[in-house]
């Protein structure tokens, strides 16, 4: 990662002027500067030719190492396809095109500077504008002067290759609801503020001094200002209430809408027919507070994405072989039977059969397992894996969207939004609440009418509806959930929205994925079997593995922590097989059984084996087992104490006994689970009435994450990768999962307590209202007090309890 690059730059002898990495193998000199590879030098050359070397002044060593970058000329050919271009661009007219690229490599001020000076690199570019947080750049260019393909090539030449994937091609319309909400809030605030100014004189006896003319004018102005509030700011409530009534349910918005309409119509009657002051200021304040609550409930994490499906990872184009000629075609035009070529580090786009080459496939995106799998000719290779090593040819067996993995997204559970079978607390109460209020109001009307005081009856009726408008009630939920959301966010547990908390509180069954979720690469268990290793041998092994980036090498490397390295000659790695080198004239090999020539049985099972041989004699082997994340036993035990725990794994069940020992007998384990099996497993649990929580990490869990009541994606690097889910959790805080679940319940209790508080206010209000004693001043005082006290109560309670439960450091 870029940050590490910056740190590495500090001490060593020669560091690359461009990327700041240590120049290990070779040092290239150009312009009196040192570069670690031709790629970095090339970027510098491009920049210096165009007098853009300020790039290197803004941040220290801003470049990205170009060592690993493959430079194939034809890989952007698909951008010549007019259909693809049309799908990618934001806007196009006869002269200009606008396009937004996602560039994950943006990491410092220099990046912003360079990308915003693109027009100096090519006259066809009009401008570039970077969104640093989202790591995006919007480029405007003249399509006659530079084609999209040339633009992408230019970007990749200066080290900022945009990531263009399948989901970019079928862009959805961006959502504007967020902006609308802010605007509604602004309108409500504006009207409320001004109405308060006009209403203020009414609250004091001095109003009489102003005389009737003023009073009337102020009231009419209030009506005028109430119009945008009633017809614009409050529209969401009418819509939601109407929808809910249509579905024969009563949600929280029904009593709110009822209150708003009563307030408005009665105030109109009061002002125009009776010449009184009305309740318009209360209406404005009500909406203002309600909308603040709604806004506070939303917290978006710009850097995270909760909606990614396989399309976000799949390439937009593939290399197809037609009569031994390569051509790059868009993935959507790939058909069953086509022969495709997949190069090193490229993703396999469709289920296919291996025709040629040595496939060595890394399924870490899919399963969470980091150790690549070797495949032989004629074997089926599933889509979603990444080839490591030489190019391979594949015959496509299924279209990209119908594969073993991708077929998941054709399941019906992806079509509809998550159904909220579990009603939110507020909505469940609001039904009873609304009917009680209506009963009281009607009771008051009947009571006064029977006594012959119809007008007082009408006043009492409307007053009850107005005073009980559940503003405080409606605010307790958003503020409690909004605060909880923030507490969780500080604890590196990011929720998609506030509703997830309420669903979390109900969970009674927790399902874990094994690989990558319960186990972690960093916790691998390494053991050595065979002849004893001398200190020298250990050093030799350490030297070999430190030359490799293979997952198994890394694990052996960290097992040999503290061992010094030697000079081993001619070290080189053969992808998919092992590493070899010469030490004191002897050939040393480290790798698969085949590679070292091991023949013989009776090996330990339950993990990956790495053999070590000198001059063809096998000395011994390493057994590398996936290790469990730190503290995971306690997590499972704590959750298991009051919930059912299940475990799903796509692997063989050779670890069953081991896992049984660790987690106890109560954990239900299922092995050999395909992505679809996982999805169906959750669905079965749901149908049996369980409230499920799925914790997973790979694309193969995507179906289960979706089907579960709450799906949590665990990831080691938050911004990197996670399948679509309701929540994203940093793997480092996995041990806090029970605490988070517990706190979700706590926040439910806080909501209940604040309901109690607002009911108290309502009762007081109703006692006055049925007697017809409610005045606009009374309303204008009680309403904000109740709302504000509820907000203060929930905010304090949530944060205080979060600190007490150790989820937060300080209250503020």
């Amino acid at each position: 990662m870029p940050n590490q690059i910056h740190h590495a730059a500090s001490k060593s002898t020669a560091t690359c002027y461009h990327c700041g990495e240590e120049c290990r193998e070779e040092v290239l000199h150009f312009d009196e500067k040192e570069f670690c590879c031709t790629g970095c030098k090339l970027v510098y050359e491009v920049l210096s030719e165009n007098e853009l070397c300020n790039y290197y002044q803004i941040a220290e060593k801003p470049g990205i190492s170009q060592k690993e970058v493959s430079r194939k000329d034809n890989r952007f050919d698909y951008l010549d396809d007019a259909d693809i271009v049309h799908r990618l661009v934001d806007f196009q007219n006869g002269d200009e095109t606008h396009i937004t690229f996602s560039i994950p490599l943006i990491h410092c001020a220099s990046c912003i500077w360079l990308l915003e000076n693109l027009h100096k690199l090519h006259p066809g570019v009009v401008s570039g504008r970077v969104d640093f947080i989202k790591k995006k750049v919007q480029v405007k260019y003249h399509q006659d002067a530079i084609s999209l393909k040339e633009l992408v090539q230019l970007l990749s030449r200066i080290g900022y290759e945009p990531s263009i994937n399948l989901s970019d091609a079928d862009k959805k319309q961006p959502v504007f609801t967020d902006k609308k909400q802010i605007q509604k809030l602004a309108v409500a605030g504006f009207c409320f503020g001004n109405m308060m100014l006009f209403s203020l004189p009414e609250y004091f006896a001095e109003a009489e001094l102003l005389g009737d003319g003023f009073k009337k004018t102020f009231n009419y102005l209030n009506v005028l200002l109430a119009l945008p509030v009633f017809f614009y700011a409050a529209t969401d409530y009418y819509r939601s209430a109407w929808l809910s009534v249509k579905n024969r349910a009563v949600n929280m918005d029904v009593p709110i809408a009822l209150g708003i309409v009563t307030l408005f119509t009665y105030s109109l009657y009061d002002i125009f027919a009776l010449g009184n002051e009305g309740y318009m200021d209360t209406l404005g304040g009500l909406l203002f507070f309600l909308l603040i609550g709604k806004y506070y409930q939303q917290k978006t994490y710009d850097t995270l994405s909760f909606d990614r499906d396989y399309k976000s990872y799949f390439p937009i184009a593939v290399t197809r072989l037609v009569r031994n000629e390569e051509e790059v075609i868009p993935l959507i035009k790939l058909h069953v039977g086509d022969i495709i070529k997949v190069r090193n580090e490229e993703l396999i786009p469709a289920d296919s059969i291996l025709l040629e080459g040595e496939a060595y496939i890394d399924y870490s995106f899919v399963t969470g397992e980091q150790i690549p799998v070797a495949k032989k000719k004629g074997e089926l290779v599933y889509a979603g894996g990444r080839q490591r090593g030489q190019s391979i040819s594949l015959a496509v067996q299924k279209s990209p969207s119908q594969g073993y993995l991708t077929d998941l997204w054709n399941n019906e559970s992806f079509e509809k939004e998550k159904t909220h079978s579990l009603e939110s607390l507020a909505n469940r109460i609001s039904g009873k609440f609304t009917f009680t209020v209506l009963a009281i109001a009607l009771g008051a009307l009947v009571f006064w009418a029977a006594r012959g005081e119809v007008s007082l009856g009408v006043l009492a009726f409307t007053s009850v509806l107005i005073i009980t408008c559940p503003c405080a009630l409606a605010m307790s939920t958003p503020f409690t959930l909004g605060n909880t959301l923030r507490v969780f966010g500080q604890g590196k547990f990011y929720l998609k929205n506030a509703q997830v908390i309420e669903r979390m509180a109900q969970v009674d069954t927790v399902v874990f994925d094994k690989t990558g979720t319960l186990t972690a690469p960093s916790e691998a268990k390494v053991s050595y079997h065979g002849d004893r290793l001398s200190a020298e041998s250990k050093s030799i092994i350490k030297t070999l593995v430190s030359h490799s980036t293979h997952a198994l090498s890394n694990r052996i490397n960290s097992w040999l922590d503290g061992i010094s390295t030697l000079s081993v000659e001619e070290v080189h790695e053969i992808q998919g097989r092992g590493i070899q080198g010469f030490y004191k004239g002897q050939a040393i090999r480290l790798g698969s059984a085949e590679f070292v020539g091991y023949q013989g049985g009776d090996l330990k099972e339950g993990g990956n084996l790495v053999f070590f041989s000198i001059e063809g004699n096998v000395i011994g082997y390493f057994l590398i087992q996936s290790g469990l994340r730190k503290g995971i036993e306690q997590v499972v035990a704590q959750i298991g104490s009051n919930k059912e725990v299940h475990l799903l794994s796509g692997d063989q069940d050779h670890e069953r006994n081991h896992l049984k020992q660790v987690f106890g007998k109560d954990v239900l384990m299922n092995f050999h689970q395909s992505p679809k099996d996982k999805l169906e497993y959750i669905q079965t649990l749901n149908q049996a009435g369980a409230s499920t929580l799925m914790v997973g990490d790979g694309l193969n869990d995507a179906g289960a994450l979706r089907a579960a009541q709450v799906g949590i994606a665990v990831t080691d690097r938050i911004t990197n990768f996670s399948p679509a889910s309701d929540a994203i959790m940093d793997a480092a805080v996995m041990d806090r999962l029970p605490a988070f679940l517990d706190f979700a319940k706590t926040s439910r209790k806080i909501i209940k307590a604040s309901f109690g508080l607002s009911f108290t206010y309502n009762t007081i209000g109703v006692i006055f209202a049925v007697q017809g004693l409610v005045s606009p001043v009374f309303c204008a005082v009680l309403m904000p007090i109740s709302s504000i006290s509820v907000v203060v109560f929930t905010t304090l309670a949530t944060n205080y309890l979060a600190v007490k439960k150790g989820l937060k450091q300080k209250i503020w």
Binding site: C108, I112, F132, I133, L197, T217
Partner: protein, 60 residues
Amino acid sequence: MEVIFVLIAVSLVLAGSFLFLFFRAVKSGQFEDDQTPAIRMLFENEIKTNEKKVPSTKSK
């Protein structure tokens, strides 16, 4: 006291124009990215060539 009517009109127009400006700002996307502009404003306008060590515009 009739001057109050004028003042009310003035105050409404003033507050209304602020509301309008806020709407425009929201529409233009000013509130969408609050990080990049802060960095962008520190860049110097003209580009210094040659190897003059530009006294630091480095971000720490």
